[in-house]
Amino acid sequence: MRISAWSTPVLVVAAILITFAITAGPIIVAGANPIEAYAAFVVVPLTSQFTLLEVLVSATPIMLTGAAVAIAFRAGYWNIGAEGQLLLGAIAAAGIGTLVGGLPPILALPIMIGGGALGGAAWALLPALLRVRFGIDEVVTTLLLNPVALLLVNGLLHGPWRDPVSGFPESPRIAGSAEFPALIERSRLHLGFVLALVIIAVAWYLLARTPAGLRLRAAGLSPHGARFAGINVSRTLLGAALVSGAIAGIAGVSEVAGIQNRLTGGLSPGYGYTGIVVATLGTLTMPGVAIAAIFLGDLTIGASSAARSLGIPSQLGAVVQGVLLLTTVALLAVRRHRSTRSDSGDAGSVTGDVAAEAQPG
């Protein structure tokens, strides 16, 4: 198999290298050596069992939000609201988790996960309906619902769910049977990681091997063409939006049941937005999302250890994420332009910009 200079793995690695070259600037300003810094970001977390497991812990929520975003983007539905949908899933999990104490885990966990998925899907429903019924841009409505979801969390934590004893803005601890069990003793790696891998595998199968997946991809590549081929594009978009919201909701469940064991105000440091980085870096494919999530988890753990060892503020992690997103999407666009130089760019290519890169070829 010949590897072209513009094949996806080469392109992604190039994006990472360009990103590192650009972010060397702020690292030097912070008074550190960029080479040492990148070694600390990328390599150091992989060198001990403890940090390796922590990488997987921090990859878990963004693997789920990445899958959620990728599914929506593949359909040409610009769900930028995974952050809010995640928070609704977390609220549902924190509520249900305190009520299922009498049930064995085999019942408690599916009820809680299902409730979180419903919560995320419910938060995704209004923008999706406004889009397919009235043509109202989902980008704005999904974005605006993110701060609303955060206000809902804070309203609950400062109101009805405030800890009655300590007065802390934290919800009551969920029941033991609703907590995700640890996968490995004395580590924080929990059932959520397996759940994320299973969801990735199922989503990959559905997208690649079923008629519903074909309709979804067709709608994303060319809504006009899909409509011409007899596909109900509105229904496809609605379905993609709800599945996307449900998976983002499960990310919230995973953080509540696997890490926090309760609802807290700082539950998500922007996992929904990081999901967009993961989805794009993974070129909207499910295996790509899994790898990209683990890579960004590696960077996150690396950035927090570099903050301690090298004195680089850990906020550099967000800078790297932003620049990585920009370089990846720029390289994808340049490649697309090279391959379709004569394409005048119809409506389909608008969403196809990212989605087309995901086609096997």
């Binding site: 702020p26 300003v29 912070a30 610009w78 930028i80 209004l126 406004l130 009235f134 043509g135 109202i136 841009d137 980008v139 704005v140 409505t141 974005l143 605006l144 619902l145 993110n146 701060p147 609303v148 206000l151 809902l152 804070n154 309203g155 400062h158 109101g159 922007g270 937005y273 967009i276 980085v277 794009t280 503020p313 906020q315 550099l316 992690g317 967000a318 800078v319 790297v320 994420q321 932003g322 620049v323 990585l324 997103l325 920009l326 999407v329 720029a330 994808l332 666009a333 340049v334 697309r336 332009h337 004569s342 005048s344 760019g345 608008v350 910009d353 990212v354």
Partner: protein
């Protein structure tokens, strides 16, 4: 009466960053580019303005720094969407993530998590001071006067009446025709995005330099997204966008004042805080149905 005067004064004050942001986003979108980098551009403007004013003691230098940062942010957005032809949604989100990260990174380096630093807020000027109690409505920061009396009319004139504005609208509606008529599409979009970026950054700097006199994390808190919604609500017209900003700000200012009224105090105030966002979504649902987007919205332009 005092309640009403106070409410209207707050409405003008809180609308100011939204007016700058909405006008800036209108320029971007009329040229055919949805700039979701607005949230990050406002954030970076707020931080750069504050840090420069703190370091130099001059709010005017702070404002100048914010404008430079805004122009730079607009240029990066143009590089992504015009030169590379990259996806506009993803580019904008990437710009926002990167700029918020960079601002917080610099904030950490400069202020090292120490106690909250302050700058002297810009002074309040009132050309209508002789009107007694009602005149207090016009106790406003200079940047608010500039927004309503200078920026809005000038931006409207430039976009609707000047030949440069015609070029912006042309490359946003039909870049092929504009190109055939001799308009440099790429250059026009770069300029529109850089002007828009400067305005967004001034909106952010208004919050740190005038409204608060300090910089805190999450200082923009979704105002940029609100501006994107207001542009659609205003159907890409500057005047209607400004009216939308005033309406949003009225609801926003009202909910703050409702909290201290009897009967409302028992509601969790977060519910009231969410009200303006829900109102703007509701307004979009009513007024934004099947609106006519700029013809070349989201489409990169390449000569064939």
């Amino acid at each position: 009466m005092t309640f009403l005067v106070d409410l209207l004064a707050a409405t003008l004050r809180n609308a100011t960053p939204l007016v700058y942001g909405t006008v800036g986003e209108t320029y971007a979108e009329r040229s055919g580019v949805l700039n979701l980098g607005i949230e990050g551009t406002m954030y970076a403007g707020a931080f750069a303005g504050f840090a420069t004013a703190w370091a130099t003691g001059s709010p005017h230098l702070g404002l100048a720094a914010a404008i430079v940062v805004g122009i730079g942010a607009g240029a990066v957005m143009a590089l992504m969407t015009v030169t590379f032809g990259a996806n506009q949604h993803v580019s904008g989100i990437g710009l926002t993530i990167g700029l918020i990260g960079l601002s917080e990174f610099a904030n950490r380096l400069i202020f090292a998590g120490g106690e909250l630093q302050r700058v002297e807020p810009m002074p309040i000027v009132n050309p209508f001071g002789g009107l007694g109690e009602v005149g207090a409505i016009f106790d406003q920061y200079a940047l608010t006067w500039v927004a309503f009396l200078v920026v809005v009319p000038a931006a409207w004139w430039l976009l609707q009446r000047s030949s440069f504005g015609l070029e912006i609208r042309a490359v946003g509606e039909n870049p092929e025709a504009a190109d055939a008529a001799g308009v440099n599409v790429a250059r026009t979009r770069y300029l529109a995005l850089m002007i828009g970026g400067a305005l967004m950054a001034i909106g952010g700097a208004f919050i740190t330099l005038a409204l608060l006199g300090s910089f805190t994390l999450d200082i923009i808190a979704g105002r940029g997204w609100v501006c994107v919604a207001l542009v659609i609500f205003g159907r890409w017209r500057i005047g209607r966008g400004v009216i939308g900003a005033l309406l949003f700000s009225l609801v926003f200012s009202l909910q703050f004042r409702l909290r201290i009224l009897p009967g409302f105090g028992d509601l969790p105030f977060e519910l009231l805080l969410a009200l303006p966002y829900l109102v703007v979504i509701g307004a979009l649902a009513v007024s934004g149905r099947n609106v006519a987007y700029p013809g070349a919205y989201l489409k990169p332009y390449r000569r064939t």
